[in-house]
Amino acid sequence: MDGGWQHLDYFAFVALFCIGLYVVLAKSNLVKKLLGLNIMETSVFAFIVTSGMVDGGTAPVVGPGIDAPFASPLPHALILTGIVVAVSITALALALIVEIKRQCGTIEADELKGAE
């Protein structure tokens, strides 16, 4: 419980999360913002799946010749749902970007501000 190298996985998650957030905040191109959002989503999914792993564990599929320990099945199921939600949001965001491009002729946030 002392932090340090044991939590290396979580550190990677924080780094990914911050990179994604930076892209969302700092980039002007709407597609890039969407990519940043996806990076953030992926990082949270990775965090939750990581929290469910176990030392020397296998996938939670029970069968002859497969022994515990199993990784917790719960985070896997949750993240499957999470991924579907993320895909849905990405599809909608892409559609909106197409519509914005069609209506305003640009997808740069800076230029859009001037166009309004």
Binding site: F11, F17, S51, V62, P69, P75, A77, V84, S88, L92
Partner: protein
């Protein structure tokens, strides 16, 4: 300057998150609450409770089936959302002439690609069926199968040059297929009500009832997912 400030703010956010996360149980620790509470129950009783050897499937389609129902409606909502944003508006916005819906660029794929994809199509479809069928026993299931099948349909649409005007799946049938996921769950709700006394319960009788319900759900998720992926592709292709 603005970027510097953003980076600074993010550094603070990152530091706060790191400080918070350092107190979590070590990932992989078998004694962590993640493994000793609900997960332990599912590992111990999942197969017996649900008849599914793949415990992730057991969680998705039995213990937390209600969440998965919400999930398939989210996918459906994504389709509805894309349609509501991109379906052609009849009247162009005032002061601006909307360009006519441009026909899809008629880039004929090379005959080699077309041939290979047509050759592979039955095998890809069979693989999707395998992934779906074995979702109870192996890693896989309805969602994965739906994605494979959907990708196949998209590939075939590209190769055969099928657009919105002449879709691979007739539009009227596609509407019903796109609702397949929520429909399968609605059926499972009624079956559970009749057979297990609880909405989305698994019937104890007959012996094959549980498998039938799980398979029905996988099929609904798979077919519905594939139909929605195809619908999304067709709608976006015009642009």
């Amino acid at each position: 300057m603005r970027r510097l400030l953003t980076a600074l703010a993010l550094a603070i956010v990152g530091a706060v998150m790191l400080a918070g996360l350092a107190g979590l149980p070590r990932p992989g620790d078998p004694a962590a609450p993640v493994h000793t509470h609900v997960a332990a129950h599912i590992v111990a009783h999942g197969v017996e409770d649900t008849g599914s050897r793949n415990l992730v499937t057991a969680v998705l389609l039995a213990y937390r089936a209600y969440d998965t129902f919400g999930e398939v409606v989210v996918i459906f909502a994504a389709l509805a959302a894309v349609m509501v944003v991109l379906a052609p508006a009849a009247a162009p916005p005032p002061g601006k002439t909307a360009p006519p819906p441009s026909p899809a660029p008629a880039v004929a794929p090379s005959p080699v690609v077309g041939f290979v994809i047509r050759l592979l199509a039955p095998f890809i479809a069979a693989f999707a069926a395998l992934v779906l069928w074995h979702g109870e026993a192996l890693p896989g299931g309805g969602f994965q199968a739906g994605v494979i099948l959907g990708a196949l349909l998209v590939l075939l649409s590209v190769v055969m040059g099928r657009g919105l005007e002449q879709p691979l799946v007739p539009a009227a049938a596609a509407r019903w297929l796109q609702a397949a996921g929520p429909l399968a769950f609605a059926a499972a709700m009624l079956i559970g009500l009749a057979g297990a006394g609880a909405v989305l319960g698994l019937p104890a009788e007959p012996a094959w009832g549980r498998h039938a319900v799980l398979l029905l759900l996988e099929l609904g998720i798979g077919l519905g997912g594939a139909a929605i992926i195809l619908g999304l592709y067709l709608q976006m292709r015009g642009h």
